[in-house]
Every structure is written in structure tokens, then in C-alpha cells.
């Protein structure tokens, strides 16, 4: 036995191994990400969209004016200006000192006193009554509920943080005001929340339906595939806008609304789902095409050999493989959905006030446009917000398509 020789061998082996450890396989996703990063417009769009999402989420915490507070006497159609403004200074609000913070302190002190009074009552029935009346008062008179519309518990907390940080300061009306004297900047920001949520939720619904439908049709093939795709063909010929108009008018009916609310379903939620439920057709066709070519692959066969159920194969082995193209379609479906929301809002069938969406703002703006005096800001700012978002989504979609294109691998 030659000891030094074997050590030499070992060393050589270690060296080799070390080298091989350094080499990393480039996964499809990493490769795509590398290519996407080189695509300037797509990266700019991605950053813009992430920023937009953050800002939309944090809207209640930003020092914006109230999106709802009307001032028909003094502030109708003000052009963009930098005139400073104090929260709660409108006379009609009758806030203490004309300030939100003073009114908030006053109101909270009053409520605290009333609660203490209620706690002192011995009769439990009367006490409950008293608490209820306090709750009612908060619902109507709380300064937040006067300036904002039905804040959820998270948004409520966020508005509290906003008041704690910024006090009565608010960004001046740099976007001008609308026909009821509401601040357009605040409305554009609050509208972003609704518009983005519509885009996302509806697209996710269409994603779930489209991907499972297409994957199942493609995997099973044969007559199942033929029948499922015939149905899609048929649905393509139905003018969906009309079905949507039917459904929206149907759901807008008072009794239906009440019935839905008794089940805790929001009308706006239904609206998202309807839009999502009609945008899945293209997605299902694309996914089916991909799955058809994938199902002959060996990994599917091996999964079948070890006894995986068809559903497991479809959702665990096939769907992840078509994710790339699905993501591309996702970025192209979101703008379509957002445009559709704007379109429905224009017809008066979309988001109902006091909720705000970009479509609704644009509709208001268009109405103001046709008058003799030119209130350009009521159209330009919401329009620019929507157009920039759709622009960014389109660029990102194009970039992703190029990045995820297998033909471009390692280039």
C-alpha cells in the first residue's frame, strides 16, 4: 500500500468535488429571473407595481384628506393647488376648534364618561341598552366614521396611527377637487385599493377555474377533453357582457342584496367573482395545450407507476410545470379585468358609491368634461393612475413572457 499515493488521490478527489460544488445548476426560475432583471422596462414596471401595492395597502396611514367629506359651498372643482389644509376644518362638520384631533379627544372623553356611567348601572338589562346606544353613537358620530366610509378594523387602526403620527396635517389638494368638493388625491389613493383588489381577486378566481379546468381536460384527454373544450368553445360565443349586466342588475335588487347580506356575502365580492368567472376561458385553453404536450413525459408516467392518483398527478406534477405561462397570462388578465371594472362603472353597474374605484372616478371625470368649462384634472389624474398601472402590467407581462420562454434559455 502506497500511502502518499492514496492521499494524493484523495486530494485530487476533494479538489474535483470542491469544483463540482461550486457549479450550480441554473433552475428555470433563476434563469428567467436573471433575464427579467436585464429587461429595464419590465423591472421598472415590477418596482412600480410593488410600490403601488404598498401605497394602496398603507393608504389609511398616509396623511391624505378625507375621500368622502363634501364641501359644496367652497371647494367645488378647485384646480390643483398647494394651499395648506387642516383635517376637519370644514365648518359643516362642527368639529371642536375645527380640528380632527381636538374633536377626537373630545369625543373619546365623552364616550369614556358615558361608558363609565353605563358601568355604574346595576340593572344588566339597562346596562346593555346603554352600551348599545354608545355603540350607535360611535357609529354615527365618531370623527373617523364621518370622514371615512365603513372602515374595517385594520383600516380603523391604520387611521388611528395616521392621526397619531400626522395629527391634523393633510397633503394639500394637489390633484384638485371634484364636483362635490372632495379631494381628488385622496380619492385616487382610496380608489387604487378597490381597483387593485378587483383586479387581483377576479384574476385569482379566473386562475383557479381556468387552470383546473384546462389541466383536467388536457390530462384526461379523449372524450372528456373533447366535451370540456366544446363547452369552452360554446361559452366563447356567448356575449358575456350581457350576462354580467343581467347578473349585476339581478344582484343589485334590494331583496337579493338583503338575502346575500344575511349570509354575510358582500355585493362587491360577488361582483369580483362574476368577473373572475368569465375570464377563465383563454387561461383554460392555454393550460390544456401545455398539459397535452406534458402528459407524455416520463415523470408523469413514473408518478403513475408508483400509484399517484390522477388528481395528484394533475395538481402536483402537471400544474407546477405550466406555472410559467400561467403567470404571463395572469399579468395580462389583471389589466383586462381592471378595464372591465372601469367599463362597468361607466355603465353605472360597477362599484357603487360611497366606495371609490378608478373606473368610478373616471366616469365622474368624463361627466365633468363635457361641460363648458374645462375641469381637466378630474379626468387626467385618475386616467393617468389607471393607464400607468395597466402600462406597467403590460410591460411586466411582456418581460415575463420573454424571460420564461424556454427558447431563450441560457442566453
Amino acid at each position: 500500500m502506497n500511502l502518499p499515493d492514496s492521499r494524493k488521490n484523495e486530494e485530487a478527489l476533494a479538489k474535483l468535488l470542491e469544483e463540482s460544488h461550486k457549479i450550480r445548476g441554473v433552475s428555470l426560475w433563476k434563469d428567467a429571473w436573471r433575464r427579467l432583471r436585464r429587461n429595464r422596462p419590465a423591472m421598472a414596471s415590477l418596482i412600480f407595481l410593488i410600490g403601488l401595492g404598498l401605497v394602496a395597502f398603507l393608504t389609511p396611514m398616509l396623511p391624505l384628506q378625507s375621500p368622502l367629506d363634501k364641501d359644496l359651498n367652497n371647494r367645488r372643482f378647485l384646480s390643483p393647488s398647494f394651499e395648506p389644509i387642516t383635517m376637519g376644518s370644514r365648518e359643516g362638520l362642527k368639529f371642536a376648534d375645527g380640528k380632527l384631533t381636538s374633536q377626537l379627544a373630545l369625543f373619546e372623553a365623552e364616550i369614556a364618561a358615558e361608558t363609565a356611567e353605563a358601568l355604574a348601572i346595576n340593572d344588566p338589562l339597562k346596562q346593555a341598552e346603554q352600551f348599545e346606544s354608545i355603540q350607535d353613537r360611535i357609529r354615527v358620530e365618531h370623527p373617523f366614521n364621518q370622514l371615512w366610509n365603513q372602515l374595517g378594523s385594520v383600516s380603523f387602526k391604520m387611521v388611528q396611527i395616521r392621526v397619531a403620527i400626522f395629527g391634523d396635517y393633510a397633503i394639500p389638494s394637489i390633484f384638485g377637487t371634484d364636483k362635490l368638493g372632495r379631494d381628488l388625491l385622496a380619492r385616487v389613493f382610496w380608489g387604487a385599493r378597490v381597483s387593485l383588489v378587483v383586479g387581483l381577486v377576479a384574476t385569482l378566481v379566473s386562475l383557479m377555474i381556468g387552470v383546473s379546468y384546462g389541466a383536467i381536460a388536457g390530462y384526461f384527454g379523449g372524450w372528456i377533453d373533447a366535451a370540456m373544450m366544446r363547452i369552452v368553445d360554446m361559452l366563447y360565443s356567448i356575449p358575456f357582457i350581457f350576462v354580467v349586466i343581467y347578473l349585476v342588475t339581478f344582484l343589485g335588487e334590494e331583496s337579493v342584496k338583503a338575502w346575500l347580506e344575511s349570509y354575510g356575502i358582500d355585493q362587491i365580492m360577488i361582483f369580483y367573482i362574476i368577473i373572475g368567472a368569465i375570464y377563465w376561458l383563454t387561461m383554460s385553453r392555454v393550460v390544456r395545450g401545455q398539459v397535452l404536450s406534458l402528459r407524455q413525459e416520463q415523470f408523469v408516467e413514473s408518478a403513475r407507476t408508483i400509484g399517484a392518483s390522477p388528481m395528484r398527478i394533475v395538481f402536483r406534477h402537471l400544474v407546477p410545470n405550466v406555472l410559467g405561462i400561467v403567470i404571463v397570462y395572469l399579468t395580462l388578465t389583471i389589466p383586462a379585468v381592471m378595464l372591465f371594472e372601469a367599463f362597468l362603472s361607466f355603465l353605472g353597474l360597477g362599484v357603487a358609491p360611497p366606495d371609490v374605484s378608478w373606473g368610478l372616478l373616471l366616469n365622474d371625470g368624463v361627466e365633468a368634461l363635457s361641460s363648458v368649462k374645462l375641469f381637466w384634472w378630474v379626468v387626467i389624474f385618475p386616467g393617468a393612475a389607471l393607464a400607468m398601472t395597466l402600462f406597467a402590467l403590460n410591460f411586466l407581462g411582456d418581460g415575463l413572457r420573454d424571460a420564461l420562454d424556454p427558447k431563450m434559455k441560457n442566453r
Partner: protein, 309 residues
């Protein structure tokens, strides 16, 4: 030829099934909604309401209504009377509105195809130049701006600021032009992008290289060898484009106050005019189906590899 006949017959069968499904769904939706078409601010005397119900066959049991109405359509092509528009039958409303909507849609589509294809070809041939970038940015903008905003701005610019077009009215070419352009622009933008992508792909094909190599002029190569291949995605997009134009015409007819079918439909659906709404949906479905069939035929003509199914 036999292929074609079989294809058309099969398509007709599918159209019948689709129409039946659409009819059933709209019937159920309209009847399921609470309230009746006659519920209004001012209550109607019961006797009159009964008369009205009898006139529109609304007092029959639902299944009977379903069959009666369907039988009326099938045997006489009769879509019954409109409930809200007095003394108008649905057929009359459609007969009046259809030419307006159809000519608007056709003008818009033709305009979109011409503009979109030429823009796409130019920007693909001069790829990377200022013209290409400018045109593609405009195209994305065209996709990103809702057409009602576009239309309002266009009215402001070309009717009031620079009086090129009349503000409203219907009949002359000048009156059709502005709404048709507004309706066609988003579609044109989409077609331009599709054409450009298709052109770029076929420009890199080998047969194109061969054509260039044997010394054909650039013009001939592009028109004869590149364009037909590049147009395939455009042709297959024409089906959805028709749907888009029909949908968009709802908005544009409202903005330009055109007496088309779209304005009637929204009115019918929101005012619960069941007969009118059903008639409109059926008409639109037929239109869309016919257009999809034509697109499939055109596809088979352009690309000999495609078989009619």
C-alpha cells in the same frame, strides 16, 4: 367542398345549442329576479296589471311561458312585444338598431385592421427605430386607456376645439367616423402588437432568408412571404375582437347618443324589459357565432395546414 358543407352544418348545430342555452339562462335570470317589470313608483291598479300580464303572457305558469316564447321565436321569428317601449315589438327595435350597430362595428373593425396591420408591419420592419418605439408605446397606451375616456377626450378635441366632426347624429360618413375610430382604436392597438410579434417571428424564418438571398426586393418578400404567416394570430384574434367591439359599442353608443342596439340593451336589462333583453342577447349571440365561424373559415383559407373541424 364536402368538408366545408359538413363544417357549416356542424357549426349551425352548435349555434342552435348555444342559442338554446343562452335563451334558457336569460329566461331563468329574468324570471328569478324579484319584483316584476310592472313594479314602479306608482302602483298600478290590479285590474290593469292583470291585463298587462295577460298581454305579455306573464300570467301563464313559467314552463308554459318558456315554451310559448320559444315556439314563437322558432315558428314565426317573433320575439314578442317590448314591455317598456310602448307599441314597439322587439323585432322592430332590433330592425331599427341593428343597422346602426352593425355599420358602427364594421367600420370600427375595418379601421382597426388597416391601422393595426400597417402599424405592426412598419414597426417590425423598422425594428428598434424611433418609429417602432413610438408606435408600440402608443399601442400600449391605446390598450391601457378605457375607450369611454378616449371618446370623451376625442369629442372635446375634434368636435369642440377643432370642429372636424359633428357632435352627434347618425347617417353620413362624417358622423360615423369619430365613434368608429374611437371604437376601433383599442382593437387596432392590439392588432398592431400581434402583427409586430408575428412579423418578427416570420422574419427570422429560413424561407424568408432564402427569399432575400435570391434577390427578391424587400417589398415583395415582406408582402408575399412574411405577412401571410404573420397574420395568423391576427385572424384568430378577430373573433374576440368582434366581441370587444360589440361590448365597446355599448359605451360609445351612450356617449355619442347613437340609436343602436347597445343603448337599448342596457336600458332593457336595468328596466327589467324581459322580452327586449332576451331578444338582444339572442341577436348578439348570433352575431358573435357567425363572426367566429367566418374567422375559422378564414383561418383555414390562409393556412392550408389547418383542417376544418
Amino acid at each position: 367542398m364536402k368538408d366545408l358543407l359538413g363544417f357549416l352544418i356542424r357549426r349551425l348545430g352548435w349555434m342552435a345549442i348555444t342559442l338554446w342555452a343562452v335563451y334558457t339562462v336569460s329566461f331563468v335570470l329574468m324570471r328569478a329576479a324579484p319584483g316584476s317589470p310592472f313594479s314602479a313608483e306608482r302602483a298600478m291598479p290590479p285590474a290593469i296589471e292583470q291585463q298587462m300580464r295577460a298581454r305579455y303572457n306573464l300570467d301563464a305558469p313559467p314552463l308554459q311561458q318558456y315554451w310559448d316564447y320559444m315556439w314563437g321565436i322558432l315558428s314565426r321569428g317573433d320575439l314578442s312585444w317590448s314591455i317598456k317601449l310602448e307599441d314597439y315589438s322587439v323585432n322592430q327595435v332590433i330592425a331599427e338598431g341593428f343597422p346602426v350597430s352593425a355599420s358602427l362595428a364594421i367600420f370600427a373593425l375595418v379601421f382597426a385592421i388597416i391601422l393595426g396591420v400597417s402599424a405592426g408591419v412598419i414597426s417590425a420592419v423598422y425594428r428598434g427605430t424611433v418609429a417602432d418605439v413610438a408606435m408600440m408605446a402608443t399601442a400600449v397606451l391605446g390598450i391601457a386607456i378605457p375607450n369611454f375616456v378616449l371618446a370623451s377626450i376625442a369629442i372635446l378635441l375634434f368636435v369642440f376645439l377643432i370642429p372636424l366632426f359633428p357632435a352627434a347624429g347618425w347617417g353620413t360618413l362624417r358622423q360615423v367616423a369619430l365613434p368608429a375610430i374611437c371604437l376601433g382604436l383599442p382593437v387596432a392597438a392590439y392588432i398592431a402588437r400581434l402583427t409586430r410579434a408575428g412579423m418578427l417571428e416570420s422574419l427570422s424564418r429560413e424561407h424568408v432568408r432564402t427569399a432575400f438571398a435570391k434577390g427578391l426586393p424587400k417589398r415583395t418578400v415582406i408582402i408575399k412571404h412574411v405577412l401571410p404567416g404573420a397574420l395568423l394570430p391576427v385572424v384568430s384574434y378577430l373573433g374576440p375582437a368582434t366581441a370587444g367591439v360589440l361590448t365597446g359599442s355599448l359605451v360609445l353608443e351612450k356617449i355619442f347618443a347613437l340609436p343602436g342596439m347597445g343603448s337599448h340593451f342596457i336600458y332593457a336589462a336595468t328596466q327589467r324589459d324581459t322580452t327586449l333583453a332576451t331578444g338582444m342577447v339572442l341577436t348578439y349571440t348570433v352575431l358573435l357565432f357567425v363572426m367566429n365561424t367566418i374567422v375559422d373559415l378564414a383561418y383555414a383559407v390562409i393556412d392550408p395546414r389547418v383542417e376544418l373541424e
